[in-house]
């Protein structure tokens, strides 16, 4: 007997009678004999619930998790505080055991929540239309690139800044290779995208230009200047943004971005070894019908009651098949719900407070580290919650030392940027205390 399988032998007998068979095998006669599996699968004995819990505790216990350490690791995935109420909402099983809201009248809860999510993303990004979520920040960048080529037909080139997360650039590379798009990378200079070089590279062949803000090094880009360069060449400008930063920083939509995407993990989603997280994607009204994925819209029933439905569906794969704007079907709805609850709980003041405290802590740490003899801050421009430090030894060696004091150090920049030798990217969230930062500084100083 299995708890997820309800049939008793009597039940099965009744069902078989209803079907008009006497043996279960009769249901599988359509499978060619020569390929039928003639043995039991090698999956082992079923485990009880207690045994599963023990086994999973053992497996997860083989990991060192961030709750046991003081972590300064970010680089795209951030350890912000997650309020308790979020998971209690996510565990409402009317939400998490539902499918995509195809039947609107019995899915009003989810549809409204995602309509609220779209509104929140529009507010943060300064754009008119947001979709119901993408797989993650990296694939959202890839979809923005594809969308740019759909809007700018016959232009087959995408330009991306090297100051965009290496993880995202790798994913974009895979997509561009597969769909035969030219991918050009523009260098950074003093920690930000080299806008002069961008001006030289962008042309009438360019469908879209993609930058990140704050960029991978935590530095702030001059979006307005770049938007102008990109638009002069007639291309679309995509900005990948940290949503938490948008409580403080000017909305990219107000600075000329045509598409704003980003990794939404920081909005109430656990690290989870990289997923499930969510990507967000927003654009202008003008490009609304080119947006990939699901979009929720407001409407009314026959009595005039307000309600919500999936809309603009003629863009989507289940209607348009090979002519769809994207093949995306399942997205990251539950993670988008987490982001919605997070932004509701934090609200106007809370998100600003999270952003401010994270930024202040980063700036405090930068000041302290800058005073150390063996370390220097790599870039001098304004930054948000992350910055790059150049050390006197390899990051691997330093991190090993830090670990002995229960500190997880920063990301090793040299693995992606050969010119940033001994470069470490340190990230700060509101969770780090002044004392922990002082301890980090003391430990760094102690590494000889």
């Amino acid at each position: 007997m299995f708890p997820y399988l309800p049939h008793t032998q009597e039940d099965r007998a009744k069902l078989m009678e209803g079907v008009g068979i006497t043996k279960i095998d009769e249901l599988f006669t359509d499978i060619p004999e020569e390929v039928k599996l003639d043995r039991e699968l090698d999956l082992g004995q079923p485990l009880s619930e207690l045994e599963i819990k023990e086994k999973m505790k053992e497996l997860s216990g083989k990991n060192d998790n961030l709750e046991e350490y003081t972590s300064f690791l970010g680089a795209g995935v951030y350890d912000h505080y997650i309020p308790s109420a979020i998971d209690h909402i996510l565990l409402r099983s009317e939400f998490y055991t539902a499918y995509t809201p195809y039947q609107a009248e019995t899915s009003q809860g989810y549809l409204q929540a995602i309509f609220e999510y779209q509104t929140l993303i529009c507010e943060l990004t300064g754009l008119d239309v947001a979709n119901a979520s993408m797989y993650d920040g990296a694939s959202a960048i890839a979809e923005a690139a594809l969308m740019s080529t759909a809007v700018k037909r016959r232009r087959k080139e995408i330009i991306i800044s090297k100051a965009v997360s290496p993880e995202s650039r790798e994913v974009l590379r895979t997509y561009c290779d597969a769909v035969d798009l030219e991918l050009v990378e523009v260098d950074y200079k003093d920690g930000v995208t080299d806008s002069e070089q961008l001006g030289e590279l962008v042309s009438e062949k360019t469908a879209g230009v993609i930058v990140q803000n704050p960029n991978f090094f935590g530095q702030l880009e001059d979006l307005e200047e770049m938007a102008e360069i990109v638009h002069q060449a007639g291309a679309l400008f995509t900005v990948s943004a940290d949503p938490v930063s948008l409580a403080l920083l000017e909305a990219p939509g107000n600075l000329g971005a045509d598409i704003v995407v980003g990794e939404g993990q920081a909005l109430g989603n656990p690290l989870n070894f990289g997923g499930p997280h969510l990507g967000f994607l927003a654009t202008t009204k003008k490009n609304m019908r080119r947006i990939p994925g699901r979009v929720i819209g407001e409407t009314e029933d026959e009595a005039g009651n307000r309600g919500y439905v999936m809309t603009l569906q003629t863009r989507e794969q289940h209607i348009r098949r090979e002519r769809a704007t994207s093949n995306i079907c399942s997205n990251q709805a539950l993670n988008a719900l987490a982001a919605t609850v997070y932004l509701t709980l934090l609200g106007k003041e809370g998100l600003k407070e999270v952003a401010k405290q994270s930024a202040k802590k980063a700036h405090y740490a930068a000041q302290k580290i800058n005073q150390l003899e063996d370390y220097e801050i790599v870039f001098n421009g304004p930054f948000f919650k992350e910055f790059a430090v150049k050390a006197h030894k390899s990051v691997e060696e330093i991190n090993e030392e830090l670990l002995t004091d229960n500190i997880i150090g920063g990301y090793d920049l040299e693995s992606d940027y050969a010119d940033l030798e001994n470069g470490m990217l340190l990230a700060f969230t509101e969770k780090r205390t002044k004392a922990e930062i002082d301890q980090l500084v003391a430990q760094l100083e102690g590494v000889k």
Partner: protein, 486 residues
């Protein structure tokens, strides 16, 4: 029943908060000294200002305006809406998993790597493939990945002119969408009267341009493609590859394996077959599996084992690259792993048997009352047609909406496209005889209503929080966000 619900923005009141954060320890730092004004926002985003209780009540009320598997029967065809075991939710929430960062040193996350490694082995065993990668985030993403692999394979073998993907007319919409996204030309092949791929029609479209065939088996009308071995031979003889859309794997687990049927590339939907919740449309997980000769094209990294230690192998020069950041929807993989542990070999096979038994039982009891598209043994699902009822002016959409009044989530409707007024029904193995009988009774009642009082069905739903919604206006005059009246 009818009741509008305020948006969270409409409940907002300046000064209310639902957060509590530690005191700012660094009052002395003034960010305006550090970040020039030109980078800063002039105007705050309009985020809600509510108390914690208001927020919790709001989302709790929204949840009551939603139907999940836990609320009631959910026979949504091709979506495998089975029970989502609660223990899986618990174990996936262990801090040892959730509080691990994807960029931590491999030595610190050996448990995660071990789980990914074992999952690869278990999925390979279940499907008869040689190697899996968990990076794709959903079914369609898995398809995209699989097609990229097929493209890379043909390219490396100097067969770039192989640019056509054959897709049956009964296929999921994602199949042609994924194929064309990767730059393949989509060639549709007709189904025959029995609802299966028409071999003669297939022979006509297969050529030296054929890069591959995408097939769901059992297909979307719930029938096993009996000619699968001939189909495989046909495709392979032309140097093409066979792609398996794993959306419908549930009814054949432990009975037959895609790898043994000749499939070269496969994606699975962990959120269908392996009991992880659909989350209202995601997160899913769409691992991709391949046969030995295609392993080198899989996304990177792969997890390898050296002695007792696990590590990520990025040294894969022929890999298509990354299709998503890091290692996919890891938290979903954790739940699917726990699901397989709970069932073991014996349970997995019982799943397929019971899912097929349930579907055939419903089919046999309902075929008198609704037109049955294909009258033969089905697998996990079957397709009815509402064409009898349509004669009385009752459309399949009406039948679906009437089901809502009985607390049942309707089947998939108007799909597959090859059946007129289609109702695609997949009960799954986790439903009791009593639930199935109740559904049969409800469906019979609706069939009777369609004859005797059609307007009752046409005007449904009657008991939901909103009446039938106007989708046409929503698409014509899109209102896609709330806006402050300020």
């Amino acid at each position: 029943m009818r009741k509008e619900k305020d948006l969270i923005f409409e409940m907002s009141k300046p000064g209310r908060v639902a957060f509590s954060l530690p005191q700012d320890e660094l009052e002395e730092i003034d960010l305006t000294d550090e970040i020039p004004a030109k980078y800063l926002r002039d105007e705050d985003p309009e985020l809600p200002e509510v108390s914690e209780l208001e927020a919790v009540r709001h989302f709790t009320e929204l949840s009551t305006r939603n139907h999940g598997v836990d609320s009631g029967f959910y026979p949504l065809g091709s979506c495998t809406m089975k029970y989502n075991a609660k223990v899986n939710e618990d174990v996936a929430r262990l801090a040892g998993f959730t509080a691990t960062h994807p960029l931590q040193d491999e030595k610190m996350v050996q448990g995660n790597l071990e789980l990914l490694y074992q999952m690869d082995q278990m999925l390979s065993e279940i499907t008869g493939m040689d190697r899996f990668n968990m990076q794709p985030a959903a079914g369609a993403h898995g398809e995209l990945t699989g097609l990229m692999i097929m493209k890379a394979y043909h390219k490396q073998n100097g067969n770039e002119d192989k640019n056509e993907i054959i897709v049956p007319d009964s296929a999921h919409g994602t199949n042609p969408a994924s194929a064309s996204m990767v730059g393949f030309k989509v060639v549709e092949v007709e189904s025959n009267k029995e609802g299966l791929v028409d071999l003669a029609a297939l022979k006509e479209v297969v050529s030296d341009k054929t890069a591959g065939l995408m097939l769901t088996n059992p297909n979307t009308v719930g029938l096993f493609e009996e000619d699968i071995l001939e189909i495989a031979e046909l495709i392979h003889d032309e140097g093409g590859l066979l792609y398996y859309d794993g959306a419908n794997l549930n009814p054949i687990m432990g009975q037959v394996r895609p790898g043994d049927m000749g499939f070269d590339v496969i994606h699975l939907n962990l959120h269908k077959t392996f009991g992880t919740p659909h989350g209202g449309g995601g997160p899913g997980s769409g691992p991709v599996g391949v046969k030995e000769e295609l392993v080198k094209y899989l996304p990177k990294p792969l997890v390898e084992k050296d002695g007792a230690e696990y590590y990520f192998d990025y040294d894969l020069p022929d890999s298509i690259g990354k299709v998503r950041s890091y290692y996919g929807n890891f938290g979903v993989v954790v739940k699917a792993y726990a699901y397989i542990l709970a069932l073991g070999a014996e349970g997995i096979k019982q799943v397929s048997e019971d899912s097929v038994l349930n579907a055939n039982y419903l089919k046999e009891q309902l075929k008198e009352h609704y037109a049955l598209a294909y009258d033969r043994i089905c697998k996990h699902e079957f397709v009815l047609s509402g064409k009898k009822q349509k004669k009385n002016g009752v459309k399949t959409l009406d039948i679906a909406k009437r089901l809502l009044d009985f607390g049942v989530h309707p089947p998939t409707i108007y799909f597959p496209l090859i059946v007129d007024e289609a109702l695609m029904i997949e009960p799954t193995e986790t439903e009791t005889v009593e639930t199935l009988d109740q559904f049969i009774e409800t469906m019979i009642q609706i069939a009777r209503e369609a004859e005797e009082e059609p307007e009752k069905v046409q005007q449904a739903p009657h008991n939901t929080v909103v009446g039938r919604l106007d989708e046409a206006t929503a698409a014509r005059k899109p209102k896609l966000r709330w806006k402050s009246e300020k």
